[in-house]
């Protein structure tokens, strides 16, 4: 029965993503006004405190807040450091990593509402035959440091400096001010407050304008490229910083056919070339979101596996691959009925 509903890992993941999108955006309507808040305190989902209907909020919000109002201020005041700084930060990170230990970066690939929305837009782009842009290996390498900069500067650095009184108070939550998920999830509840740019201070205005422009760009870019914002998302870098600690991980065995194959990289929504060119722990790259597409599209038995405490939850197989490519190409092009806006000769090259 379950196999009929979810014939592929991709279908199963998509169902989870849609469910979590509903939950993280309309959570309080589903589970109640106060209950949603309880969930929000334990599920560090990328759905934020600015939403009025959501069932979850983003760990980056309290992280910026603690940097701003706890650590920065306490460093200046130099008092009650342990009780007011260390303990709250410890519990914040503990609750995040308790969740993280179970899922590792699968949060990004399975739960994040912004990730789901980008995937939906990409599917829409395929349906309407928009071009497909992927990052070359060198481009992917160049893009990777950006997410670390986002984490260090926007989530940790500026809030800390604002807390210490060195930077203006308006940069106390700079990432939130540019975060496209804040705009996307609030717009999904018909709330236009967040997309209205703040005009009270030039810094807020500049950050808001940048955030809105980024959001607009992501909306369009996601039609033609896979997961454009995920590549610079600080939550991915926060996850990546501790990915080796989690028992949930991606594993790849070296195989003689790998060198000439590379379908795994074609299937990877983050354009990770290491999954094709490397093996062992090096194949589990910092950009991996554990979506499992590489394992789905690997045509050889057991080469790529998703493991939890060493036990394979899913592993590649030739038969599965043959069935999978009948419904969708590794690049995400559906093989069912497609709405063409252009003549058929402009079909995706990869097909």
């Amino acid at each position: 029965m379950l196999k009929k509903i979810f014939p592929t890992l991709g279908r199963f993941r998509f169902a989870i993503q849609l469910l979590m999108l509903l939950f993280t955006v309309y959570g309080s309507a589903l589970i109640g006004h106060y209950a949603a808040e309880k969930v929000s305190n334990t599920l560090p989902a990328l759905s934020c405190a600015f939403d009025k209907q959501n069932g979850a909020y983003c760990v980056l919000v309290p992280l910026q807040h603690q940097m701003h109002h706890r650590i920065g201020e306490a460093l200046v005041q130099g008092q009650q450091v342990f009780n007011t700084v260390v303990l709250p930060l410890f519990f914040l990170l503990l609750s995040f990593f308790t969740f993280f230990v179970v899922l590792n970066k699968a949060f990004c690939g399975w739960i994040c509402p912004l990730g789901t929305m980008q995937e939906l837009l990409f599917r829409l782009g395929r349906r309407f035959n928009r071009p497909f842009h992927r990052l070359k290996e060198t481009q992917a390498h160049k893009a990777r440091p950006v997410k670390w900069l986002m984490l260090l500067v926007l989530v940790l650095g500026l809030p800390l400096l604002a807390g210490m009184g060195i930077a203006p108070d308006q940069v106390g939550d700079p990432f939130c001010q540019v975060c496209p998920s804040r705009l996307a999830t609030t717009l999904l509840t018909a709330d236009t407050e967040q997309i209205a740019v703040r005009t009270g201070h030039p810094i807020n205005f500049a950050l808001g304008a940048l955030g809105n422009a980024l959001f607009g760009f992501i909306l369009i870019a996601a039609l033609a490229a896979r997961q454009p914002f995920c590549r610079i998302c600080p939550l991915l870098s926060l996850n990546a910083a501790f990915q080796k600690l989690s028992p949930m991980r991606l594993s790849k065995q070296p195989h003689e056919k790998c060198e000439k194959c590379g379908i795994c990289t074609k299937a990877c929504p983050m354009d990770i070339h290491e999954i094709w060119k490397k093996s062992g722990h090096k194949a589990f790259n910092e950009d991996c979101t554990l979506c499992g597409r590489c394992a789905e599209y690997c045509p050889d038995d057991g080469v790529i596996q998703i493991k939890f405490f060493g036990l394979p939850l899913f592993k590649s197989s030739r038969d599965y691959y043959k069935a999978r490519v009948k419904s969708e190409t590794p690049e995400g092009m559906p093989k069912g009925k497609v709405i063409w806006l252009k003549p058929a000769d402009t079909k995706l090259k990869a097909e």
Partner: protein
Amino acid sequence: MRSTFTILALAISLAASAAEMPLAASAPAAEHAGHASRHTHGWTNYPLIQRSMSKGMDGRGTVLMNASNMQADHLYTYAPSDAVPHELELTMAGAKLEALPKVGNYYWVTAREATPEQVIVASTSYYFSNPGPAPTKMLLSKKHELELIPQPLPREHNSYRAKEKWLFLLRFDGVPLANQPLTLETQNGSTLRFTSDAQGYAEVRFPDDFKPETEEKPVSGEHSHGPRRASFVLATEHHNGSVHYLTSFNASYGPDAYTDRNLALGLGFTLLGMACGAPLLRHKRKASPASDTPQTPTGV
């Protein structure tokens, strides 16, 4: 993590309490005005429970609260999973409200002054970072004769704001009061009147009465702690026999959602971003294959 925003809530509450704004004289509050009171607030004569101004005496998980415009010796706190209220002695400094473990986030706080002729009840809510059940049942449990119950309370990250409508249930002896008048007074000088419907619910629309913000640069190391807040009090009065009942609920509210925001500009910048992304949607006439893009093998 759940405790993260508590400090913000505390700061907002403190800012609301400490706000010294030019205030219009509030409407005279009925019969209780002649009572002796320990503290008074100039903007209203209705009874209030607010954070004490004694800075430095409260800390994480504790808060000092005080009653004003009434004569009360104790505060009573109700937590979501507590069957009985806790009685806190009210001193000049205030009563120390402490977060109890595992009883829930939302505390209902009341003060009561009772004489044979009248019963005055002040009430407010306070949010602690504290796991526990939702406050739905606690809010609906009978605590006093005349009650003014928020339905619901704003969640941790939300609050009352100008132009927003919030529901309040009015009851007497546990029975909803239909067509019961309700008065809203704000620290910004507004007085509005509402009436409950047949089920006892009154829809309260908060007034947009914040004046334009004056430019004040914070001293280095000091923080503005979020948007402006102002206090408000909702009050209702009821006569039963020879006894006069007055019950109030006070909290704070903020400017409306679009204060210091511009929707047209926001949409404009979003469209600008979309325009920047638009070239990605155009098909190239002749795309050259990426050199490091893996080729689909023939042998699989």
